[in-house]
Structure formats: C-alpha cells, structure tokens
Symmetry: C2
Subunit: 153 residues, 2 copies
DNA sequence: CCTGAAATCTTACGTAA
DNA sequence: TTACGTAAGATTTCAGG
C-alpha cells in the first residue's frame, strides 16, 4: 500500500489531477521522461492504487445540481448494528455525494447535491426517516468559491 | 448557454463521471450511438462547459493527505475589500481543497487536506493570520465513508 | 528506440424524424 | 432543420518489444 513516490511521480500525479486528458507524450515531455518510461510509471501507480481512476468533471448547474448543502448530524444510537443501518440508509440516497464521520459536536458530515430547495427538502425528509438521529443541521452553500482542488503534493 | 440535455447526454455524463478512461467505442455501444455520434456529442458537451475537464483521482493516503478537516468560520468584517483579501488569503493555501460561502451560524466552510495533526496545525496557524475572523471551528474527519460521488442525474 | 495495434479525429454523404 | 449512420482516411496515442 505504501508505494514510495519520488518527485517525478509527484509531478505526474500533480499534472493528472489537473488534467488527465493530455497525451502520455505531452506529459512525458513535461516531466522529462520518455513516453515509454512514463507509461510504466503510470501502470505502476494505477496498480498500486495511487491513481484510483479517471473521471469527467461535470458542471453542477448544467445538470440541475446547483444547490450544495452541508448537513451535520448527531446521533442518539451508537450500536454497531444501528451504525451499519444508518450508513446503508445514507448511501442509498444518490444526492449524498460526500459522507464523513467526524469528531466534535457532531458525528457525521454530509455533502448534498440538490437541484433546488424543494429537491433538497425531499432528500432531507428521506434522511430523517432514519430513527435515532438527535440533531440535523443544514448549511446551505450560497456560493461555491472552489471545490475539488488537487491534493497538495 | 444552458445546453439542453437529453436522456442520452445524461447517460454519457453518468458513465464519464464514473470512469472517463473508457474508449469512445465502448461508451457509444453502451448508450446506443455510433462512435461518430458520440464524438459529436462529447465535443458539444465540452464546448458548452457541461464537461469541465478530466481528472485523475488520487488516493489521499498515498500522497500523505490522510487527514481531512472541515473548518467552519464566522467573520467580524464584511466590507467588500476585506472579503476580497480574505478569499485571496484562503486561496493561497494549497491544503484548502474546498471553499464555500454558507448560510447559517457560520459564514464559510473550508475543506482541508492535511498529512497529520502537525501539518494541519500549520495550515490553521496560517489561516488565522487573517485578521477579522471571529470563530474558527475545526471538525476532524475520523473516517471518509465516501466522497466525490458522481452528481445524480 | 522502434513498431504494430488501437483509438481518436475529421470529412463527406445519405437518411430519418 | 437537426441529429444520426456509415464509411473511409489521416493522425495520434497506446502498449509494449
């Protein structure tokens, strides 16, 4: 799991996090490798799970997901069984695009992608059908200044 | 501007959000188009800004960014000038990978990618060098259950 | 470094809704 | 008109030898 990364690997990952549509030749030139050497490194990084995949970034407004909402919640129940059910419940809601267990005043943080208030409300209603929730607080994004920045290397 | 999406466009976007490494021929077969027709749609979606780009997904633990922290903060100042400075200040910190202006008890939500507590603390120290912050609350991710799910279509 | 295979890009034209 | 299909060819990129 601990695939040692050198500075060339980091440059490769940095570039690919920003734009994965470039050709291997371009990228190879930039990092000072032959196309073939780059190809071997890429395969190794993919095989090691460092690169988990390639995805298209879609404009939320273009697909009717302009409203981002962050939900913080505290639970009353803490049994293993309840937790498993709760996670399954949350995972089954496709508008939940991020799901973190956190420390502090709350137990979980969810990021929701909704179309508008009405569509968010239906997500909310579905969410709180789970019994055992103590507090559910919604923070609405007024503006997404940026998101999904590349991980710093 | 608002590029009307039909059912096939949605299927294309759905597939590409999950895996953008597939060949056009594969994708074309799946959605029931010729490779050529798919290519034309893709170019149109890219030109319209619906597809904003293609990125590699990198495993955070593999690049020493295992600690995710969510920072919520409230500000004391609200002048246009101060806001501009504040945003520039935040944007200049590469470990801040998400930045939202929100409603409610707090004004901003930040997502931080750090290596460990010590490296988070240096981000925190840098963050609070900005004068005019009233409250800065950190929520540490104990577990990332999932994140970066495709936008629901 | 070299190369065969594959994928992408481009043009052109005929067809269907 | 607008989008699709087929087809063919040029070019680029991939995946190795």
């Amino acid at each position: 799991m601990s695939h040692k990364l050198d500075h060339i690997d980091r440059r490769i990952l940095n570039a690919l996090q920003r734009d994965a549509s470039r050709s291997q030749r371009d990228l190879a030139d930039e990092v000072g490798l032959s196309q073939n050497a780059l190809w071997r490194r890429l395969k190794a990084l993919e095989a090691a799970g460092v690169v988990q995949g390639y995805t298209a970034r879609v404009a939320p407004e273009a697909v009717g997901a302009s409203l981002a909402v962050f939900v913080m919640l505290r639970t009353r129940r803490h049994s293993a069984d309840w937790l498993r059910q709760f996670r399954a419940h949350v995972e089954a809601i496709p508008q939940v695009i991020g799901f973190y267990r956190i420390s502090g005043d709350y137990d979980y943080l969810l990021k929701i992608a909704a179309g508008d208030m009405a569509s968010y409300d239906s997500v909310y209603q579905r969410l709180i059908q789970m019994e055992g929730l103590e507090t559910v607080t919604s923070y609405f994004a007024m503006e997404s200044i940026f998101d999904g920045r590349p991980l710093p290397l």
